[in-house]
Amino acid sequence: MALSRRQFIQIGAGGAGGAALATGLPTRWWGLDGDPTPDPRTDGDQVVASYCELCFWGCGVLAHVKDGRVTKITGNPAHPLSRGMLCPRGAGGTGLLYDPDRLQRPLLRRAKRGEDVFEEVSWDAALGKVAEGLEGVKQRHGPEALALFTHGSGGAWFKQFMKAWGSPNIGAPSYAQCRGPREAAFQLTFGTPLGSPEPLDLANARCITLIGSHLGENMHNTQVQELADALGAGAQLVVVDPRFSVAASKARYWLPIKPGTDIALLLSWIHVLLAEGLYDAAYLAEHATGLEELKAHVATSTPEWAGAITGLDPGLIRASARLIGAARPASLIHPGRHTVWYGDDTQRERAMAILVALLGSWGRRGGYVKQDKFPLAGYPHGGLPPPATRPKVDKPKGGRYPLASEVLASGLCDATRPGQSLYDLKAWMVYGCNLIQAMPDRPRLIEAIQQLELLVAVDVLPAEICGFADVVLPEATYLERDDDAWNGPWRQPFLAVRQMVVPPLYDSKPGWWIVKELAAKVGLSSHFPWKDAREYVQARLAVKGQSWEVLSTTGVLMGEPFPTCQEDGAELTLETESGKIELYSQELADLDFDPLPVFRPQEEAPPDHFRLLSGRAPLHTFGRTVNNRLLAEPYPENEVWLNADAAARLPGFERRPLEQGEKVVLVNQDGVRSTPVKVKLTQRIRTDCVFMVHGWGQTAAKQRYAFGRGASDALLTTRYKLDPIMGGTGMNVNFVRFERAPEVA
């Protein structure tokens, strides 16, 4: 029997040069002390399946443990979101686990809020302090005076606590500061919000259109995989972006649009599709209402009209519309993710949704498809907590934002300043979100924080928000804890588990433990009857007959495939009031909003100012990876992108023009100054705006690597424009000018 290559290596590997001898290739001789095939030996003696927490996407990972240390993290091939591949952040998870700046023990504040002076205490003392503070707030103001800000999978435990405690005020910046507008717009148009991961069939699309969404820099693993697959299969890409993004560099058409004019472009695209018959008439006749109103509405929205507004060549608008229209129904308009730009964002997303409808791509292969969740039972003996008695408090007194479907984090901040809302918030728990970078108008945020009677921060790193907390609770990282099982929506339902890979470092504790202990201190133990997270998950699985033994080895369990699009035999379901796609929205009309999207010009920049735009880098998630030494190596700080020609004309720099990489200070329209940041002079951006990757310019000195690196777009975002429909905070309405950074001696 001939030995296979692998067997041969196993036999030969003991002797030096075995591999080389095996092939007889010309090899320079070296001594027996040599190391013919240098093996770093990072394969784990133990490999634990879990899912990632470096961003919210939740890819399946395999964590390699050797001698008690996590050596590397690879993608779990069985997991549908990673398919064995990871983005850089996922691969860099050990940089979080072994971050030398991690929170090690619970902390109590010992100086003014924000001065970041703390004393290490025991868990008992810290949780005692939290319990005492919460009880006091409850006695004086009721249980609803407590709000939770949360992001990430461990937040589920804290949500449970809030329900048991009796407060409905659970918010996340991921709604009103991120994807809220598109949720409202797709809800209005198709009757369903999109959620996460979005129900997109990128892989099978023949044309993909990105509007201000720089997929690829915005590293949502599965979507990037599918984008590449689609491009590899010959799909066309249309990218609308003031910046020549990575995606733009791969596009058939790049439309370098003037910021703030997207609705005009979208209306003219709709105009072209309707005028040239490049829409799915049969599909619309069967499934949609309002086509006549739409036709009348865009009758004059020609590419020439839009060209004058957007700064785009009308020929380019027409050509891109034709490409988009010709690929229907597998022509995918990506809804975007970070969609809070100008306060009219629900309307812009409505225009995108209308385009989706015209292309007939809702419910079609290569378009918007159906997803479902793996059926996962509740914990058997949980017992329902009493419902909160007062309503959510995220809206101003009069009540606004009729179509907000989640709590507004910005609304919770406002409700903390006395007299703004129906009642005042007096205590915050902040789990895994650094509100200092996430929220606009930092002075007002800090004003709200100073009003609090209690601020508790739960985090793995000493994030900026921790500096303002009364009590800081160090959570174990995702590699050190069990969590609830995950059954997010997908095209084939699946279930994934989070398992402890190594025991927690220092005195950090998993979220479930923190919550259970805290509950015991405030008399809510009956709501947390489980022993630990593992027992909790096992019990949930057992109800549906799933085996923990299997899941804990594979990390993931696939459900039954089902038809996800019309081509597979799925029916088109529309949960709008009319049961149809609502091109014209009666619901908006009834609420006194524009029933069809209308373009209204945005404020122009003051002289010598540039519009400030922000975005993502693939190596980093928001501001929470900037201290990760591994991820910082290739991307150590952000830069401000400035058009090189605009730089050459910059007033005040005539005598000595800015040089590549030189440090500048950005000053916004309200006089707020950034920390020094390097300038990237490039042709890859328009001359009327600048761009920065979000998350830098952090002020938390205890994050020693991140401290003072780059600049914060959030700091410069002193203004925002509220979306009247769902309360999103449009943040692309700030302008900056340049100053040379003072030279430090």
């Binding site: 290596i9 092939t23 290739l25 090899t27 013919p36 095939t37 050596t71 020549f244 990575v246 290739p634």
Partner: protein, 180 residues
């Protein structure tokens, strides 16, 4: 059986320059901070708005003609299985002669005093796995394999897709091919 000739095809159309290959290389090979065996290059041409950009995940080209091996006085730099260029760290004195002769800047000095570079993850290849960079690449931009085997994926790509190598004029006959 013909001798193996390992090579890599880097699809610049698929690559988004995310650096996942860089990070996974670092953890797979336990590289110290500051040390890289692969890296990303974004090459931009043109002026706004007429621009092009090529994104490349670069690494040692495991050249067919190896100035680095020729320059190495100790024999530490050598050509191993499948044409993979390796450094035997026990023999390397850190003299940097190889670094000076490599036109691609593919080598760096490890803090432990020896010169280090991409090994095509030969330790994994011997176990039947692909290099760590390829394994993680979310866009499947990287394809490693045996160019001597006409049926291999890398042969198929290099033979059918237009491609280029870096600095062909340097005369080193690189075995990393950039599909365009």
């Amino acid at each position: 059986m013909t001798a193996r000739r390992y090579a890599m095809a880097v699809d610049t159309r698929r690559c988004v320059g995310c650096n996942a290959c860089v990070i996974s290389c670092k953890t797979e090979n336990a590289l110290p901070s500051g040390g890289f065996r692969d890296w990303i290059v974004q090459e931009v041409h043109g002026t706004f708005p007429d621009l092009t950009m090529q994104i490349r995940s670069e690494r040692c080209n495991h050249c067919g003609d190896t100035p680095c091996v020729a320059a190495c006085p100790t024999g530490a730099s050598h050509v191993a299985d499948g044409g993979v260029v390796l450094v035997s760290k026990h023999k390397c004195t850190g003299c940097k002669a190889c670094m000076a002769s490599c036109p691609y800047g593919a080598r760096w000095v490890h803090p432990d005093g020896y010169v280090d570079k991409c090994t095509f993850c030969l330790h994994r290849v011997e176990r039947g796995q692909v290099p760590a960079c390829q394994e993680t690449c979310p866009t499947r931009a990287l394809t490693f394999g045996d160019l001597a085997d006409p049926a291999s994926e890398v042969s198929r790509l290099v033979n059918r897709r237009p491609n280029l190598v870096l600095q062909p004029g340097a005369g080193t006959r690189p075995y990393v091919f950039f599909l365009t």
